[in-house]
Each structure stands twice: as C-alpha cells, then as structure tokens.
Amino acid sequence: MPTKTYRGREFEVDAEGFFTVPSQWSEDIAAEIAREEGIGELTDRHWQVIKFMRHEYDEKGAGPTVRVLGKTSGVPIKELYQLFPRGPAKIAAKIAGIPKPRGCI
C-alpha cells in the first residue's frame, strides 16, 4: 500500500493518491494536498465543497459526483470547475481525504 507524507505524517493512499483511511485525514493537511493538485490557496468556497465531501462520505460511505455536488453543495457546476479545474469531485475528494467517487454521471 503506497503512502504519502503531509506535514511530516504518513498516510495510506491508493495508486492515484486518494486516502484509503479517511479517518487519518485532518483539516490541517488539506492545503498541502491542494498545492500538490495545483490549487494555490483554499478559499471559503473551496472549503464549502471539501466539507460537503466529508459530510457526504460520512453519511453515505462514498463521495458525491459532480452532478450531486452541483445540486446539493450550494456551489453551482460552473463555479465548481473554476475552483477545481481538474475535476471538482475527483480533486475535492483527494483534498478531503476520501476515496475517489465512482459515479458515471
């Protein structure tokens, strides 16, 4: 199992860098993961999405797709792609320390 080191701590991740043990994640490492994904600074809007990802994962055991994010996170799809240009659900899931969402739509 590959690992990643953020802020001097080691975390278990999959081949693409998604956390496999979401409980290991904490908010203080989010900015470092975001930088790795090309996002310079996490704004309140980024955090709204990241927290929503965590919430959905806790409730349902899986992260939401972009469509679900657009409908229920309070951030519309256009803005989601401005915040996370390389794929909102995918990148936000990585920053939020949850597995990659698997929906097709």
Binding site: A15, T65, V66, G70, Y81, P85, R86, A89, K90, I105
Partner: protein, 160 residues
C-alpha cells in the same frame, strides 16, 4: 500498473454525436461529462440527426428508436406499432430519472457548465436549413469539418 510503463493519460477528447435517438445521444453526453469530471478537456460536435440534441424545439423530445433495434428484444413488427416509441421512451426516461440521470436538455446545460464546448456541424445545419438561433444558447458556433479537426488536434476523437 508498474511505475516505469505508465501509458500517457488522455488529456483531451472531441466527441461526435451523429444520431438523434435517445440511445444515440446519451452515450456521447455521458462520455463528455465523464471526461470533464476527470479533468479532461472535452468538446462535443453535433452532426446529422445528432443536431436534434441541441435544437431548441426538439431537444426536449428525443425519442427511443423502437424499429430496427434488436437490443429491445421484441418482434420488429411490434416496434412499429403507433405509440411504441413514446411508451419505450417514457419507460427509459423513468428508469434514468430513478438513477438521477438528467434529461437531455438538463444534461447538455450541465455539460456546457463544465466548460465543454458545444458545436454544430455546418454541412448538417445547411442540409436541414438550420441557423445559429435554431440551437440552444450554449452552442458556441456552427463549424466546418476542417475547423473541427483543427479544434480536435492533439486529442482523441470519439464518434458516436
């Protein structure tokens, strides 16, 4: 996958939608939306009856083809009965709604919001006598096949 033999990731796709039936339109839309979700650049190019998917008056009425569709597993003659296409379209859209798959108009609006480009084929638009204002506002332009190839440069082309 081994570390030294990673295939090059796909960075850009240009998807052609050439059919105007429900089962002809959705695959291209799902491929485009899925590409954007992966951070892959995507453009959609609508040609021939695929133009119905971006036609203001027609895109809400995309129907399932019931004639000559062996995938439905019923006799060809039944597929041609009056109302059969409407019934099967209703059945399919109900099933899709249950899975939270958006309707064609909603899906196309969503795909435009993801930053994908929507284009109409000039030869087909000329053939059907359609102009830019016949299409939904998300359509960026009516383009020639040459312009399409220029736009598709450096990426993968997917024909549906």
């Amino acid at each position: 996958m081994s570390d030294n033999a990673q295939p090059m990731p796909i960075e850009k796709v240009s998807i052609i939608v050439s059919k105007g039936s429900l089962d002809g339109v959705y695959p291209g839309l799902i491929m485009a939306n899925g590409a954007r979700a992966e951070g892959i650049e995507a453009d959609l190019f609508f040609t021939f009856f695929g133009l119905d998917a971006i036609h203001k008056a027609r895109h809400e009425h995309i129907k399932m083809a019931t004639v000559g569709n062996p995938g439905l597993h019923f006799a060809t003659l039944l597929g041609g009965l009056p109302g059969m296409s409407a019934v099967m379209t209703h059945y399919m859209t109900q099933r899709m709604a249950k899975l939270d798959i958006p309707s064609v108009p909603e899906f196309i609006e969503m795909i435009a919001d993801t930053g994908a480009g929507l284009y109409a084929c000039k030869a087909s638009a000329d053939l059907f006598g359609l102009e830019k204002n016949d299409f939904i506002p998300q359509v960026a332009d009516i383009i020639t096949v040459g312009e399409f190839y220029a736009m598709a440069a450096g990426g993968q082309i997917i024909f549906t």
